[in-house]
Symmetry: C2
Subunit: 358 residues, 2 copies
DNA sequence: CTACTTAAGCATGAATAATTACATAAGTCC
DNA sequence: GGACTTATGTAATTATTCATGCTTAAGTAG
């Protein structure tokens, strides 16, 4: 029911037509959802010859979710509404306790809205069933402090989910997200779900060998790993730029050496992507990370190799696009992760039933 | 309810304890399932100090499913019971009409048990939502003739599903199935489901380039594709063997040249598998196809490269094993495909409700 | 202003589902 | 053999859920 309202603000009568339920049954559910603040009502519906309907809409202000995108040394914490909009945001220092305190402070500043869930992105693999951060389960302390479920996910997976929810879920196509920053990582969303693999290590493409590396030794000990050949660190070593932002700026400005460098990097990454495209046949390949700003020469290199190396069927209709959310993908993905669970029909049903009995 | 009975033959009292339902509620469901022939009862339960329970068990003989594994020029059709056991089997000639006639004949020989569903494996990609064979949807004619739903799937995916259901579903780990025959193909089972990709082309790994090919040109136009370097056809060209069975026999017998050839092929395939393992982090890699008979040298080569090229995390706990079902995987997978749908709780509920109202 | 149309609330009643209470069956233990 | 324990079947009761019919609300069309 909430799902239908979220997908397109309907009226009670419309919900009845869609679900086949009678008007009282619909009205009961809607009134429950309104009592919990999840649905709002406005009397501005267009009349079609009779009484105008009350337009129902999802009430994003009906609760808050706690999100955080943690890096190795710094991170962001935020409180979002139920549509994923950031209400308050802050930088955080490492440590779970510090994060919880930050969230508490942010909530105080917002008048302590009811919290529905929490989601954290971390720069480590997360194994299903063992949602731990630095070896410590995150669920119990968050449940103790805020009384809500917590969800932990790898940061690349989170960014991929953020992009997926914002643009691609409706098409339901599989998505391959490739993050090109100092290092190289990937995330898979297949069948509408993040694929973590057996130990949460899915997407670790950094150490797949590519051609054209000239035998460079990677930190992993092997030679010609894509990260050693075309990772951000490798590119900076061959560029006058001080960091990836500057390098991307040079590429955008058309600096010939940088354009060549980035395009060649795109080709090498393209080899890995081509293999992944053949294996997975995704609907979309999304390029994210700090190098996204140098998208034109980058994607030119990627496309060149993917369309040469990819099978006809796997590349037919394949979209290769840049990340659009950029840095915002992390928090957006955390929000999407939490909302996916918290606003799922089963979770909402459970919420309604629980409060009813109080 | 049927799910619980299938997972481990329980008694009515045990079902009540598990589900939390009262005894009459359990008894009602069980009696419905028995009325439809899906559950059987035996009075041989062990007493624990009182009346011995009636042991309930899934009744595999309570219906039949139609399965077929079609190759390009020949194929097999069979009728299975609800446990996937083949009751009757036959070779078929191409053509959907011929297949339906074969099934009809097989059913006649079995006294026309009630048919619950049909599943077909075909050597082509199958796109989700467009279950077509040679451009013709298979659902309508099968529904018209037998009144049951039909499921179509790629043959490699089917074989992977057969292996997965027979051994790996309980562990719920992701599975990468690699078929090494004349050509090379793969299938992915992630999150318990076959992953088809956008156009059904997932698993097309034949044309990923590998090292050591010496620049051999593949039929796809590129160079050093793994299929051109290490596919069955390429191996036969470098072996005195007439076919893959003979080649595998030589390898098993320890013929040095063949062992070296197969082991080297394993290394080349291992490069592709290593990349896939890094990308997907599966729990199991299963090697199937005609080359499976030469498993020892083959897997030695695969392991060598996978453990060198795979990241520590992705290869930790990774199992690389041979297919055990062999040729039987096709029909077993078709059966699993159909049974997955037909015995799913929703489908069983729908069946009970439908017949109730008649 | 009156008739008509569509939306939505409310009270009653029917159908469904599940539980409780009771009865029966079939074993073990002393 | 008689008491006890466990499993199951049956009937009546209760609770839940949904739908029907009626009423009210709020607009448009003539």
């Amino acid at each position: 029911m909430l799902k239908l309202i979220r997908e397109g603000a309907s009226t009670r009568a419309e919900l009845g037509r869609i679900t086949g339920l009678s008007r009282p049954a619909v009205a009961l559910r809607v009134s429950e959802l309104m009592a919990h603040g999840l649905v709002g009502e406005r009397s501005d519906g267009p009349s079609t010859g009779g009484r105008p309907p009350a337009r129902l809409s999802f009430n994003a202000a009906g609760g808050a979710i706690l999100v955080a995108n943690l890096g190795r040394s710094r991170g962001q914490a935020a409180v979002c509404d139920l549509a994923g909009n950031v209400l308050a945001q802050d930088h955080v220092t490492p440590g779970l306790d510090a994060l919880l305190d930050h969230w508490d402070a942010l909530l105080d500043g917002l008048g302590r809205p009811p919290v529905r869930g929490a989601g954290i992105g971390v720069p480590d693999p997360v194994e299903s069933g063992r949602e731990e951060w630095d070896g410590v389960p995150v669920g119990p302390p968050i449940a103790a402090r805020f009384g809500v479920p917590a969800f932990l996910e790898n940061d690349v997976n989170i960014a991929a989910l953020g992009e997926y929810e914002s643009r691609y879920r409706r098409e339901a196509g599989d998505l391959l997200f490739v993050k090109l920053s100092t290092g190289i990582g990937a995330a898979l969303i297949m069948g509408g779900r993040i694929q973590r693999g057996a130990l949460g290590a899915a997407g670790e493409i950094a150490h797949i060998p590519v051609s054209g590396g000239g035998g460079v030794t990677c930190r992993c000990g092997n030679r010609d790993c894509v990260e050693a050949v075309a990772g951000g660190a490798a590119l900076l070593a061959r560029s006058p730029a001080a960091d990836l932002a500057e390098l991307a700026g040079l590429a955008q400005a058309g600096d010939p050496a940088t354009v060549t460098l980035v395009r060649e990097a795109g080709r090498r990454v393209g080899e890995v992507i081509a293999a992944a495209v053949n294996l997975l046949n995704p609907a979309v390949v999304l390029l994210g990370g700090d190098l996204t700003a140098a998208y034109e020469p980058l994607v030119a290199g990627v496309r060149e190799v993917v369309y040469r190396r990819g099978t006809t069927l796997a590349t037919r209709g394949l979209r290769i696009e840049p990340s659009r959310l950029g840095d915002a993908a992390g928090l957006a993905g955390c929000a999407a992760l939490v909302l996916d669970h918290v606003l799922a029909p089963e979770a909402v049903d459970a919420l309604l039933r629980r409060r009813e009995r109080v």
